[in-house]
Symmetry: C2
Subunit: 534 residues, 2 copies
């Protein structure tokens, strides 16, 4: 068992080669990139580089049932909203998505300050048949939060008040426009944690998180929003305020209608308020990062983490070699591990006792070493190191986007075949005659990473320029591959504009029929977030 | 700190007075009482003691839209079901609820063996407008699972196969008729646990659990079924099989329609299959039981448990003095504590390391003693003692029912006012001129207990005979009391027949309107579980 003797050096102190310096940007530095991208675009508004969605997808036509915006409409909105809440001059940032793939043509952004404002807006739009797009932090990865044609953008950004918090039960009630990170910071002061964390936390709104049923980094520990959201207040297509903002952990009085809004992507109503059950924040957080030589071993390490770390396991993220090469291109940080490995795993534990948690993690890592499952690894020694290690996971999407664009596939597949999709995609592209990663090739790399604990893979094909030919090589091939394994073509990113035509690869016709009936029930004229979802 | 010196004696070894003997019935002994009650009723079928619901509630009339069962219908059902699955002679046990409060008049019980059978039954009933009641283990506490008039009972008892289990992901797929306890025993063999536990586990079906969104004893730890149920297969009113039996932890492809079935109590469709994400079973379980002198101190002990026991806390149940007096009347067991206390708490921890968990629990209890929050307590030393202590909580409903009947209120209220409802109810009855607990009085006692961790109180008024005058003293007074605190009039038991008229006390009119539209959408003729819910 020669490997064992390395453990004290590697795992109880950080490897000497991992020089965490004070100049390193924290996690917040990376996650604000979404907002930065939108801001950059605004500056370049005179020379937009993102093509109109209408031009890119000429087969999609504006729905002639919808009215066109008129001066009378603007006058009505101005009758109850302040001038700065009726934006007609600077709408570019609201028309372009965070992936810079879609560009709408809306001439109007409304910024309601209250649920009553939203109700008035929707009542008017419902009567006039004016189509709308509810928009939170505009961090959708599937073009879900920007207009396709001239839909009015309803930005929830001015509704950002924490309505109440009960520090015995941990139940918080927030406006839809509260930013995830700000809300989590507020909760931290009270010893609680928001049961959701994701890369875009610095920009995304809680209303948007709920509307898209965001998954993120700690679903493994805290479960899905379907379990932790206790209540929703929403405004439907005719301006009705559906008041389901309960603050009870248990309430079996009738159909759980709020569940329909979770993940409905603004197609059933505009979410204006949310109540959420928040867990106690763990006082002790540990992060380990290690390298492995095969996907098979990654799976074994996961199964052991579930039983050996048990109740303190809070994240189990995996990354392939290619993903780390991309992050390293742009990161100023020293890599956590000196050598290159085929796979990397980030394990996080969250618990209440430093000695107990440390012992569990130490035992877990030692056993992995003894079983020759891992090749090398480090454990973060403080909060700065924890944040730094996390950037090697959270920084992947931004790094991949730097070259130009990314074809993103966010899928659920049974664990044993999860990584196979990445290998098969690489092979598919090579067979189709594409070069990968050369100076002249459009394809930068094919990369796989994700939330292994949830069976959720992010397959990313980074490219210099979006190219319909590459898109048609990948789609529907990727979706067919997933359908064969009864997986999900969208694990957490949702459907939006990008995946609308592919729903049938994951959902039974009987289920799609019911969905269409529900849409018809809530929004008979289809004015809520049209051309998307269903 | 004189209290501290008692700890070693009281908490590290079981009090000498707590003589756990091998003759004690385990937990299973109590929980089978539901089935036993039904069996007893069957034997006494010739002299039924439960009045017909139609007689007790003459204001409710049979819906004339529904057809009456004819010989041709029976012939059709017999054409694809075996004889023993078309029950017409011995239907008493299916007509009477577990509370012995309601009695329907169904002349037909069908026991389909497959989803296809259910589909054929519903297609026929839909065309003929024959009303139906889906029935699982018939353990409803609100009269939800028995007919009111002549509805056909669809018993899922013959559909009880575990369809699949994946021991890497912990995802199990079961027929709706699988019994909760049997399924949990199966999972135990594989190191997993069903994320739900409740007193009726020996009889209740998983399909019924999901249809009623059962809460139970470990919701505190594993969350609600809205989070852990991954997929549902159901048959709607026209025989359509809605296939949403996904086996993915994350799947954001369209509206989460299955959520509507969770807690719909058989009014939208007959659930035939369920897939559930099961957590790893904890290898170490500890149970402590202690006495406190005020509800205020119970709350303080809970807040401390959340932070000090943190991730290993799996149950925090509280019981008042009166509840324990009732259990003691019928229990053969020695009481866990010698002296009487005003309140009792049962704390359970579930974790992965015996030494760590024991230390956390010990520290927690010592601190409670130091702060004079608890008066006395014991910690179970083995599995037999754990089961025995649990009977003092789980045995309450059965004990209360022994005298005759129980008016049960299962409510969610903000924690600080939770127990006030019990005191106020007692006062209400006394002011109304009722005696409580005397030889001649009809009211045996007014009792409070429940899942403090979930803000869920069980207020029980045990009586010798059901009496409309008592009922009218209690209702709607109890519901108004709850409405004032924005609580829920049904935290986990559901609506069924008993609470149908009181939905408005917990739900906004805008929400009830949406619910009615959803019911209309799924079941336009209202044949699914009529006269109930909404």
């Amino acid at each position: 068992m020669s490997a064992v003797r390395f453990i004290p050096r590697r795992f109880t102190t950080v490897s000497r080669s991992l020089r965490f310096t004070s100049s390193l940007r924290g996690r917040a530095g990376v996650i604000r990139s979404y907002a930065a991208a939108a801001a950059a675009e605004k500056k370049n508004a005179s020379t937009p580089t993102v093509k109109l969605t209408a031009e890119m997808y000429p087969e999609i036509q504006r729905d002639s049932r919808f009215a066109k915006l008129e001066e009378e409409d603007l006058a009505y909105f101005r009758s109850f909203l302040p001038d700065h809440a009726v934006v007609t001059d600077d709408t570019v940032g609201f028309n372009i998505d965070s992936m810079r793939k879609y560009r709408g043509q809306s001439r109007l952004v409304l910024k309601p300050r209250s649920t009553e404002d939203v109700s008035k807006i929707m009542k008017h739009c419902g009567e006039r048949k004016l189509a709308v797009v509810p928009q939170g932090g505009n961090t959708s990865l599937v073009g879900g939060s920007v207009p396709v044609f001239d839909e009015i953008v309803i930005s929830l950004s001015a509704m950002n008040t924490i309505r109440s918090f009960d520090d015995v039960s941990g139940i918080i009630v927030v406006d839809a426009g509260c930013i995830l990170e700000s809300t989590d910071n507020f909760l931290a002061e009270h010893g609680y944690i928001f049961p959701l964390d994701l890369g875009a936390k610095g920009s995304c709104h809680i209303g948007g998180n709920v509307a898209t049923n965001a998954g993120g980094l700690r679903l493994l520990r805290y479960g899905s929003l379907h379990g932790s959201v206790l209540g929703i207040e929403a405004v439907t297509a005719d301006g009705t305020v559906v008041n389901g903002l309960g603050k009870l952990r248990k309430d079996n009085t009738g159909y759980d209608v709020k569940q329909l809004f979770i993940g409905s992507e603004g197609t059933l109503g505009v979410i204006t308020g949310v109540s959420v059950l928040c867990p106690k924040r763990s006082s002790v957080v540990n992060v380990a990062f290690f390298g492995l030589d095969s996907y098979e071993k990654v799976q074994q390490a996961f199964v052991r983490a579930k039983s050996e770390l048990g109740e303190i396991l809070s994240a189990f993220e995996f990354m392939d070699k290619q993903s780390q090469v991309q992050v390293a291109k742009y990161s100023e940080r020293q890599k956590p591990l000196d050598e290159q490995h085929n796979f990397y795993v980030l394990v996080e534990t969250s618990g209440s006792d430093a000695a107990h948690d440390g012992e569990k993690l130490q035992n877990y890592l030692e056993r992995l070493m003894e079983s020759d499952l891992i090749e090398d690894g480090v454990v973060a020694q403080d909060e700065t190191q924890i944040k730094s290690i996390w950037t090697w996971r959270e920084g992947i999407p931004e790094s991949l986007g730097r070259a130009g664009g990314v074809y993103k596939y966010d899928v659920s597949i049974p664990l044993d075949e999860l990584y196979q999709l990445v290998d098969d995609t690489r092979e598919l592209l090579i067979k189709a005659g594409y070069e990968i990663g050369t100076e002249s090739s459009n394809i930068v790399d094919v990369v796989g990473y994700g939330h292994l604990g949830d069976g959720n893979l992010h397959l990313n094909v980074a490219i210099k320029n979006y190219d319909k030919k590459i898109e048609h090589t990948l789609e529907p091939w990727v979706y067919e591959w997933i359908q064969k394994r009864q997986g999900s073509i969208s694990a957490e990113h949702g459907i939006g504009f990008a995946k609308k035509n592919y729903l049938g690869y994951s959902k039974d016709p009987s289920m799609i029929k019911v969905m269409k009936e529900i849409k018809q029930l809530f929004d008979p004229n289809g004015i809520l977030n049209p051309y998307k979802y269903i």
